[in-house]
Amino acid sequence: MQQRVAACASCHGAHGEGLPGDPDVPRLAGKPAGYLLQQLESFQDGRRHHAAMEYVVRQLGPDYLRQIAEYFAARQVRYRRQAAPAVSAAAMRRGEQLARHGDASRGVPSCASCHGDTLTGVEPMVPGLAGLSYAYIDAQLDAWRTHRRVADGPGCMVVVANRMTGGDVAAVAAWLASQPPPADMHPAPAGAQRDPLPGWCVPGNGGVNP
């Protein structure tokens, strides 16, 4: 399989670990397979945009996409610590506050409430945030805010990102990127979220379904 997916390796690394020289490209290794498959489909169907990704995944059928997602989900790689961006101590505190506790006054849930207490994601659909670069997290939150990235399931992140200010986005991306990756990077098992998903996050329950 590694040989078949050589196209992925040139940007994401031989095992999907991400390359130190390219902070815009996320790691794939160990992320939940359901999440990875959904992203591949989103690049095919135009819900996510990146010219190189869109071209590379264009010709693949659903079975093969699933196999590729499962392949990268099963890679076990030790994560590098990301280079921490230079932001003020106040911004770092704000980032930690948002990541661990959220901001009830703005209706922003914490990152941990959905992405797991260790921020390594939750099976099968919630990606880990640990070990991602500042550039990538910042770009994704911006893409959610501007609807350049949309979901084909509950549109939770569109709502969450739009309740954050530009400063919040930078702060939470900086804090997340500056954390040392935990020893165990496996996503938490399905249903391990601390709190139930907010009502507006559940389709059919006043949920957002773009």
């Binding site: 040989q3 078949r4 997916v5 050589a6 196209a7 992925c8 390796a9 040139s10 940007c11 390219d22 095919q44 169907d45 135009g46 819900r47 010219a51 190189a52 869109e54 071209y55 590379v56 995944v57 264009r58 010709q59 693949l60 059928g61 079975d63 093969y64 196999q67």
Partner: protein, 430 residues
């Protein structure tokens, strides 16, 4: 100079052509088939066997490719098709009565396919390939119509065309049609075998291969004398190769089996389908019957030998050849082999590969920049891939390595300019 020439064409040429077209195409009474025939045809529309044949023929014609938006519902339209004259939306052809073809009679459909005219007799833009579809038989058209009518209706309104003046004026098409459109169902050549005729019908008609593989002039008209002889696809900037397999042809040396393999599985011993052809294989040709693919191969093999291009004097290797060779060893040889021999069934050869040695380096340069997978097909469900090098190599390096590949082993093509790479780097992929 060029601008002034264009302005002259716009001011004097277009109205003249429109008048000429009007004169040649005085709108007459709409011709209809006899009533009894129309009633008999309408009665057949629910015949499951006809619908099944229509599904097959719609795949051969690749209708869904244009009439489906990315991530959208099949045949519901919405895809914007880029042309040099502006973007045109493919319409909804599901049987929704308000936004699709729910209220169309077969006569309406036939007129669109065969005459390139809409329900109100308005001339259709030739981005809808009626220049080819006019060759489709009435019975095949009926089957396709039956299939479309059997689809679940999707309520989705058509988008507005994004055409610039004067192309936004539909009557400007009358002149175009007079010059470049010959209506008429395919007429078999009795001197040829039934298999050749079937291939010719599929290639020239329903398969509409000419629409990409024939050079177009500045007006988007096809050069009648250079059918299937290759050309740059307008607005997409991929080079659709000459399909001739005789000496001097773009597929010189391709066997029948090579042609069938590429169309059926997406790859052959000679090369891999990429760019727009990968879409065609995935959505259309892989679903064709073996007999039809054989017929296409027979027809392509019988295309006449091409007059060889004049020899470009002494063949001169680019100054960057040595640099390209080093890059080749580092980046390409592990898969494509030190001598460009490839790995059968896995990686295409580069030595003697017509995608590499084509008259322009466009396809080779874009393949290096974009990488990607061969199309996933029933015959090759887990294709291998090529890394995109756009992020790794500079314009100079891409030009050097593609130039090296085009001028090594038995390859004797022209060199590549870095500026060309820079331009192609920014060409949109869709």
């Amino acid at each position: 100079m060029t601008r002034r020439w264009w302005r002259g064409v716009l001011v004097f040429g277009l109205p003249g052509m429109a008048l000429l077209g009007w004169w040649l195409f005085v709108p007459g009474r709409v011709q209809q088939a006899p009533t009894a025939q129309r009633e008999a045809e309408a009665a057949r529309l629910r015949d499951p066997a006809l619908i099944a044949r229509g599904e097959y023929l719609a795949a051969v014609g690749d209708c869904a490719a244009c009439h489906t938006e990315r991530g959208g519902q099949r045949y519901a339209g919405g895809r914007m098709l880029a042309t040099p004259f502006g973007d045109l939306p493919a319409p909804n052809i599901t049987p929704d009565p308000e936004t699709g073809i729910g209220q169309w009679s077969f006569e309406d459909f036939w007129r669109a396919l065969h005459e390139g005219k809409g329900r109100r007799s308005e001339p259709l833009y030739p981005v809808f390939s009626y220049t080819s579809f006019t060759k489709v038989t009435r019975d095949d058209a009926l089957a396709i119509f039956a299939w479309l009518k059997s689809l679940p209706p999707v309520h989705q309104s058509d988008r507005e065309p994004g055409l610039a003046f004067p192309y936004s004026v539909r009557s400007s098409l009358l002149a175009w049609r007079a010059l470049y459109f010959e209506p008429g169902v395919y007429r078999p050549d009795p001197a040829r075998s039934p298999e050749w005729n079937r291939g010719a019908y599929l290639v020239q008609g329903l398969g509409h291969c000419n629409e990409c593989h024939t050079t177009r002039n500045a007006w988007g008209g096809m050069d009648r004398d250079r059918r299937l002889a290759g050309g740059t696809i307008p607005a997409q900037d991929w080079y659709a190769p000459d399909l001739g397999t005789q000496p001097g042809g773009g597929l010189a040396g391709w066997s029948k089996q090579d042609i069938v393999d590429l169309l059926k599985t997406g790859q052959s011993a000679r090369g891999v389908a990429f760019g727009p052809m990968a879409d065609v294989v995935r959505d259309s040709t892989q679903h064709m019957s073996d007999a039809d693919l054989q017929a296409v191969a027979v027809y392509l093999q019988a295309l006449p030998a091409r007059t060889p291009a004049p020899a470009p004097g002494a063949f001169a290797q680019a100054a960057s050849h040595a640099q390209g060779g080093q890059l080749y060893v580092r980046q390409c040889a592990a898969c494509h082999g030190k001598q460009g021999e490839g790995v059968p069934g896995v990686y295409p050869p580069l030595d003697g590969n017509s995608s590499v040695t084509g008259p322009t380096a466009t396809n080779a340069v874009r393949s290096v920049l974009l990488g990607g997978f061969a199309p996933a097909t029933a015959g090759n469900p887990r294709p291998y891939s090529m890394p995109p090098f756009a992020q790794q190599l500079s314009d100079d390096e891409v030009a050097a390595v593609v130039g090296y590949i085009r001028q090594s082993w038995s390859n004797r093509a022209s060199a590549v300019w870095p500026a060309e790479v820079g331009r192609l780097r920014h060409t949109p992929v869709d």
